[in-house]
């Protein structure tokens, strides 16, 4: 067996999903005792990459080596057996079971012969692991009673209990407070010092600078490069992550700004967002950005009548507005393109035509009876207008690529008489070609008099498309930036650091 200095090496890994290349010729090398940061925008391919390493997906091309030995994982347990463990942002635990049970789930200690579970031994071992990680709670505690940070420690203990040599941490700090993050840093460093190799995925630059010695960047499913953390500047790193010439990709035209459509006065919903105020005018594209989980989607859902605010007011076209349900919102002229098009935007088992007509069925009906010819003709012309690539309006939307599915969701909105369009991550999981088509559509919509709220966590498109940008963090708007003052740095500092001195008030 050829001995190498790397515990893990991936060469030219490619993974294709119908219509999308999720990973395109990707490289990665990991040394023992190293914390290696993996960075990239949302949708750059990081999650798919992890799933390849942990055996959830098998790659369509390329090789993977563990300690110099070529491996092919067919199942996640194959990866587990080889000492690979992953800790996710959203902890995947059994909340009703004890900490011990969670740690030893799937590899319980049993007495030889009788097959009885030896609880005493497991509790002792769990206690030892927790102590090693500096945790103060008992292994007999019920998992659900712990905080997110404590649950993450349990997940780490779980990784240690199987002697994981490679530990993948997927945005572990995203839901933690500053102090909790500090604690996690210390634990991570202790693991590293004991020889574990750690892949650390995070959107926080702070995490990377604090922990990692190496950083690898993916962009648009491709491998961009690997650097020593102390040898690359923040600016170069952002360019590596963002990459393309922003001005060419974004066909933003200047629209005439018209009347005020929407005004939010310190709108709030307990536990989700607070004190959110902004206005939206006809022809305007208002960006709403911030990290995932900052409360953007919750604000949108409130504006669409899915959830109800408990503080503040919404004014719409100068009048106070209270929405009962999405239908109510659409009747008033507010449309929403949801974040998850497969779960919220489309009926996947249906053809294009039925999907397009669903929000506006009444338009094709007399006394409740659907005129299918009218329905299909309208669907056809709308699908052609947004340039869906399909043979007929009966093509199932599940057979379309991500970009074409998204165009169908747009077509649904176009047939309704709307004034405000709320677009929640409209280019998520969409390839670059379809992206620019969607940008063009958004720009045209603004020019034709819609007021557009453009929610995105991808900075280039926010900067390229928006007239003004509201940055949210932890449920509050931390900055309102004009087009002139719109820079990556400004958005980053408003969405990430405690630069304004505010802390999560818990």
């Amino acid at each position: 067996m050829a001995k190498t200095e790397y515990v893990l090496e991936l060469n030219g890994i490619t993974k294709v999903f119908p219509g999308v290349k999720a990973l395109n010729d990707v490289y990665f090398k990991l040394r023992p005792g190293e914390i290696h940061a993996l960075m990239g925008e949302n949708g750059a391919g990081k999650s798919t990459f992890i799933k390849v390493i942990t055996g959830v997906y098998s790659p369509d091309g390329g090789e993977m080596y563990l300690d110099g030995e070529k491996v092919e994982f067919r199942h996640p347990t194959d990866a587990q057996k080889r000492g690979i463990a992953a800790i996710y942002q959203h902890v995947t635990c059994y909340p009703d079971l004890s900490v011990t049970e969670n740690i030893f789930m799937g590899h319980e200690k049993v007495q030889r012969g009788t097959g009885r579970i030896s609880w005493k031994e497991m509790h002792e071992e769990a206690g030892r692991l927790l102590k090693e990680l500096g945790a103060a709670f008992s292994p007999k505690t019920v998992m659900g009673a712990l905080s997110v940070a404590e649950q993450q420690i349990v997940e780490i203990a779980k990784a240690l209990s199987v002697d994981a040599k490679i530990i993948i941490m997927d945005e572990p700090t995203a839901a933690l407070t500053k102090n909790e993050s500090e604690e996690l840093y210390r634990i991570t460093e202790r693991l590293r010092d004991k020889g574990a190799a750690i892949i650390f995925i995070s959107h926080r630059f702070e995490d990377m600078y604090r922990l990692a010695s190496k950083v690898t960047v993916f962009r648009d499913a491709k491998y961009i490069g690997t650097w020593n953390v102390d040898e690359i500047s923040n600016h170069d790193l952002i360019i590596a992550m963002v990459g393309r010439e922003i001005s060419q990709l974004f066909p933003k035209k200047d629209a005439l700004l018209g009347d005020e459509l929407l005004r939010l006065d310190s709108l709030g919903r307990t536990g989700y967002f607070a004190d959110v105020s902004f206005t939206l005018r006809r022809g305007e594209i208002l960006g709403l950005t911030g990290l995932v989980g900052a409360g953007r989607t919750e604000v949108c859902q409130t504006l669409f009548g899915i959830e109800k605010p408990d503080k503040g007011r919404i004014h719409y076209k100068g009048k106070p507005l209270q929405l009962r349900n999405p239908r109510d919102a659409m009747r008033h002229g507010i449309g929403y393109l949801p974040e998850d098009r497969q779960k919220q935007g489309l009926v996947l088992q249906w053809g294009i035509g039925r999907n397009v007509s669903l929000p506006t069925l009444e338009k094709f009906a007399v006394q409740g009876a659907i005129n299918s010819r009218k329905e299909l003709e309208t669907a056809k012309s709308l699908a052609e207008k947004v340039n869906v690539k399909a043979k007929s309006v009966f093509d199932l939307v599940s057979s379309l690529s991500g970009g074409n599915q998204q165009k169908v969701v747009f077509a649904k909105l176009l047939n309704a008489e709307l004034d405000v369009l709320i677009l929640d991550e409209p280019t998520k999981g969409v390839d670059v070609g379809a992206k620019s088509a969607i940008y063009e559509m958004i720009s045209d919509l603004a020019c034709s008099g819609y007021g557009v709220i453009f929610v995105s966590s991808e900075m280039p498109e926010i900067i390229g498309m928006c007239d003004r940008v509201a940055v949210m963090r932890e449920g509050r708007i931390t900055a309102m930036l004009d087009r002139e003052g719109l820079t990556q740095e400004a958005i980053l500092s408003a969405s990430m650091d405690g630069a304004t001195g505010e802390e999560a008030s818990a």
Partner: protein, 330 residues
């Protein structure tokens, strides 16, 4: 970018026409007829077949709204109890001097109310599934029926009331005419109207339906109310046919009705299936039962046959999928 032309007309294929679930039911129906003809010389007699429908069509009225309910991914197991409760209330009122006409109207109202309560509970308490809610109301509704009549029979209805279950109009049983009318209304509602389309949308993806402006809760309540109403219609015909009522009538109707709907090709996962399939299943099971009854096959053996049919009905689409996937193993 070049403009793209998308067809808005469906290509007609013979394969598409014949690869439909309903053909299997037609085949099964033919099998039932052939089997029964060989078993008994009395089976294939117009008058007998016609009168057989009077025996099994009562519960078929509940099949119609049950198709909607199962299409939405829900279920209602309280319908048998609603039949009993609305029937008992009607009889009780009549015996206390309320005119029969009014008692019939109240019977229908009670059924609709019971269904409405089911619907409201299901949309108000989202964490409770429709199985749990209607299991509870199944027990409650039946319980109320027992309190009202205390395990006694009640009857002596006016003679016109007997007409519903026993009489003919132009040589055709009245119940068959009523059922044909109900089928026409429900099939139209399901397949031709915006309401039906929304029911399918809810069954396939309730979240996407909500985000598309469909008032999901409202539609659910309406459908469950319709189920209650049709259960009361069943109560009318059943009570008329029996001439009296007891709190334990229509026990197990819910399961038979659900069996018919599932056999009719309506997926319990929601969103898939058509009215015609369920109607075929009603007659398939009805004639099977009638034919086997003629040769004195016991009711218990019939249940076994019904159960087997149901397993076949559920298994076939999955087998078809496996064959279609080309023996891919995982």
């Amino acid at each position: 970018m070049e403009p793209r032309v998308i067809a808005s007309k469906k290509e007609f294929t013979l394969k598409g026409l014949f690869l439909q679930w309903e053909w299997l039911l037609v085949l099964l129906m033919m099998a039932v007829f052939i089997l029964n003809m060989n078993l008994s010389e009395y089976f294939l007699d117009y008058n007998n077949l016609r009168d057989a429908t009077m025996g099994f069509l009562d519960k078929a009225f509940i099949v119609l709204p049950m198709v909607f309910i199962i299409l939405m991914g829900d279920i209602d197991i309280s319908v048998g109890s609603i039949v009993a409760l609305s029937s008992v209330i009607m009889a009780d009122l009549y015996n206390h001097g309320v005119p029969m006409e009014l008692a019939v109207v109240i019977c229908l109202a009670v059924g609709a109310l019971c269904g409405w309560i089911n619907g409201m509970l299901i949309v108000r308490f989202k964490e409770l599934s429709s199985v749990i809610v209607t299991l509870a109301t199944m027990i409650i509704y039946r319980g109320i029926a027992y309190i009202l009549l205390e395990d006694q029979a009640s009857g002596n209805f006016p003679s016109w009331f007997k007409f519903l279950g026993w009489d003919y109009v132009g040589g055709i049983p009245f119940i068959l005419i009523a059922f044909a009318l109900a089928v026409a209304i429900f099939a139209y509602l399901l397949h031709k109207t915006t309401f039906g389309r929304k029911v399918y949308a809810i069954g396939n993806n309730p979240t996407a339906a909500l985000y598309s402006g469909v008032r999901v809760d409202r539609i659910k309540v309406i459908v469950f109310t319709l189920a209650g109403l049709m259960a009361a219609v069943t109560a009318l015909f059943l009570t008329s046919r029996m001439g009296s009522t007891r709190p334990n009538i229509a026990t197990g109707y819910e399961l038979e009705v659900i069996a018919m709907v599932v056999l009719g090709g309506v997926s319990t996962a929601g969103g898939k299936g058509r009215m015609i399939g369920a109607i075929l299943a009603v007659f398939l099971i009805g004639f099977l039962r009638y034919g086997l009854g003629l040769v004195n096959v016991s009711a218990q053996s019939l249940l076994i046959i019904l159960g087997l049919l149901l397993i076949v009905a559920v298994a076939i689409p999955q087998l078809k999928m496996r064959v279609g996937a080309g023996r891919k193993t995982t």
